[in-house]
Subunit: 149 residues, 4 copies
């Protein structure tokens, strides 16, 4: 994967730092490479459901963001990554200390970028898959009040 | 739609009230009927992205919960609704005061319940569609540490 | 829904008639309106699985085409409708004489068109839902050797 | 992956041979292992669209079957694999001599099996990805007139 924007890592980090929802949840950007983004989400009340597991909605939100930044790493300088759609399958109850979401670009087109996201949960040093997703991203000009369509 | 559990509304409300993540976001359960659940989500920092719109991840989380409770209204007494998977398409930027997510059961089987969710955003008294989703729910015995599969 | 191409019905019919696979299966275009396309697929060996039901793959193929032409009715003159992705849920065994697939545009953007498709099976004069799908279409210039992305 | 049915390969081959639609298209089962199924589909009029590419609907049908048999290899003896739902992204125009669909089990539960399917097209000895899918399969007792839900 050859990035179109040589400063892709800086662009991703700058955008991530502006995401209020992510800083609110305590999500961490731990790896950004051309076509790959890894996020970690520590467990806590804001991402829990009633039985002490990670909440499905929060798993999906972190997966969506990991895929979006994997896509952004392959976009042109100055673009943003708009989620057109995604589909997520939950594989196992997500009980553990940290959620690890790995977004990977499957195809980087000019008008659409397709990504896959694998989510695992880390408990006592072991990682176990808990969700998998497939996502369509549209790279767009920033700050416009635009729809995904 | 004829509910299998005559106390379905009470079961849904009791489960919703136990959802820490929902009370954390300020989500409201405004309507529950056999096969239908409507949630409202007021705008605020916890559900915002950097440009003052509702965050896509939060839209998906509210949609997921609306579909899950629509499904739960058609489950048997004592069951919980486990999300197997869903797919969401974003239709327009979600700028407004309140998000309205309407979950509707499409087919209520014994082992799987299929739902559709429409999400609109209300601004200045007008509602505008912003997302649509299709979801597979598995009704299960509660409190078990079980996977969706 | 206001079509961008006043000759949308003719454009859809001309494209449909060029579809070798559809004429091979005996699929019929029975209705085309702005944002709506209805196809009918008679039962027969080419669309059957081993137990005498409509084959899931063929149900999905007809659904995909119904959604694609609903989208094409809202595209500009001279464009084609490329399927970016879709997701389909099967609701019931499809036993009957005719499959009826109704594609409807949910949002008609310039770069992407989102559609929903409902598939029913008609048996002894009664229609029963058997599948539902959600689809993303990209309107594109024709005859180019282009990818969806 | 440890199969529950020691005769899984025979079960898959017997089921595949009963599939009228597959023999009609000339689809070949080229590999079956625990959790993995590879199908090959030669190009021809029955799987073509108007521009000489593999038809999207046929790509999806072959993908669906590859995923279903990967799942069946992990089911119990005597079960069939019912497709609950799938989602497919098209990645590139499918021009070539042979379509190669590889289904892989992601999680093999007792009530649901989740699979991923990668589809490539082979042209002049080179394989190029053209579609990727995520699928939910329900293992069920055979020959019953049952719905996926």
């Amino acid at each position: 994967m050859i990035p179109r924007n040589p400063d892709f890592a800086q662009a991703v980090r700058a955008s991530f730092d502006r995401q209020g929802a992510m800083s609110h949840l305590g999500t961490r950007l731990v790896r950004i490479e051309p076509g790959v983004c890894v996020l970690e989400q520590p467990f806590g009340p804001a991402v829990a459901q009633q039985q002490g597991l990670f909440h499905g909605g929060m798993i999906a939100a972190v997966a969506d963001v990991a895929g979006g930044y994997a896509a952004l790493s392959m976009a042109e300088a100055g673009q943003e990554a708009l989620t057109v759609e995604y589909k997520i399958n939950f594989l196992a109850p997500a009980r553990g200390e940290i959620l690890v979401a790995t977004g990977q670009v499957v195809r980087a087109g000019r008008s659409l970028i397709i990504t896959r996201i694998e989510v695992a949960v880390r408990a006592a040093g072991q990682e176990k898959p808990c969700a998998t997703a497939l996502q369509t991203i549209m790279p767009v000009a920033p700050f416009a009040d635009r729809a995904p369509a």
